[in-house]
Symmetry: C2
Subunit: 171 residues, 2 copies
């Protein structure tokens, strides 16, 4: 530790947080634009032969991003019932998924809620341990913090956006 | 500006840089694992009907990631000749692309070079302006810095990884 004159560390952290949240918002904007362009029929189609449908990708992203709420210690999942149909293998026997219109609504509501949580989280908190790394491991790998989860989930969403775009007609 | 006792700002920046580079490395590791698993025949196949091949995605990622070198002010592109075949529309008339074996080699060499550049870049430099934003805009939006380019390009790579995985046999 040293004493020195510098910009407040919090201001630097806030800049990092803004970079990560901006990239998440950018991916959300792209995803939303595509979802609103595709018809329900297109969204119900497989993105490639024998691959997941647009509806599954939407449900999967809700379930995975909703999982950030407990993982970051922000609260409880909004839609725990989406885990069974949308995490792991698609079309599990005996598991039913909500209709598309409901999923679209849940996606919007989840993003409103996540934005609220993210805005309210103090800068220092973003650099603390998330709930799937042990205190011992975190002491050794402090880059595996809460903000890192959001970087990771943004990449996960980009991965599926690359698949969803296959439902769009070629220009 | 305030004087206060705190961790060195450089240490905070270094942690954040590590987060971003680790995520880039994670996406590279996943991409490399998939590329080495797929046969040349699979890679030459369209990822979905009437969509890009694995070879095009590989060439495209080399061309785009290579573009980070001048954009970040690190030097000249290694493979400027890949811009014509792999940026913009695929299969442009009169444009030929190098064979797959050569692309695989260029991908590896590019990642070695990028790793060298990224490791050598001082922490403070990562938070400076990149070459496609004006000084005026950067003054207003300091989060659009060099490190932000790497976050963005990592998401771009994830997007195409989600497509490339469609060449893999279903488990």
């Amino acid at each position: 530790m040293e004493t020195q004159t510098s910009a407040k560390p919090t201001a630097e952290k806030e800049l990092f947080i803004k970079m990560v949240i901006s990239n998440w918002e950018l991916q959300n904007a792209r995803f939303n634009k595509l979802i609103s362009k595709l018809t329900d029929e297109q969204l119900s189609t497989a993105t490639a032969p024998d691959r997941n449908t647009g509806v599954w990708i939407l449900g999967h992203l809700i379930a995975v991003n909703d999982g950030m709420i407990p993982l970051l210690g922000l609260g409880e999942k909004l839609y725990p019932e989406l885990e069974a149909p949308f995490i792991g293998e698609a079309n599990k026997p005996g598991v039913t998924a909500p209709p598309l219109a409901e999923l679209k609504q849940k996606w919007e509501q989840l993003n409103v809620k996540l934005t609220q949580y993210f805005t309210a989280l103090p800068a220092d908190e973003w650099f603390t341990r998330h709930n799937s790394i042990s205190p011992e491991d975190f002491a050794k790998e402090p880059h595996r913090n809460k903000l890192n989860i959001l970087i990771n989930r943004t990449n996960h969403q980009s991965y599926h956006l690359g698949q969803l775009v296959y439902l769009d007609k070629k220009q």
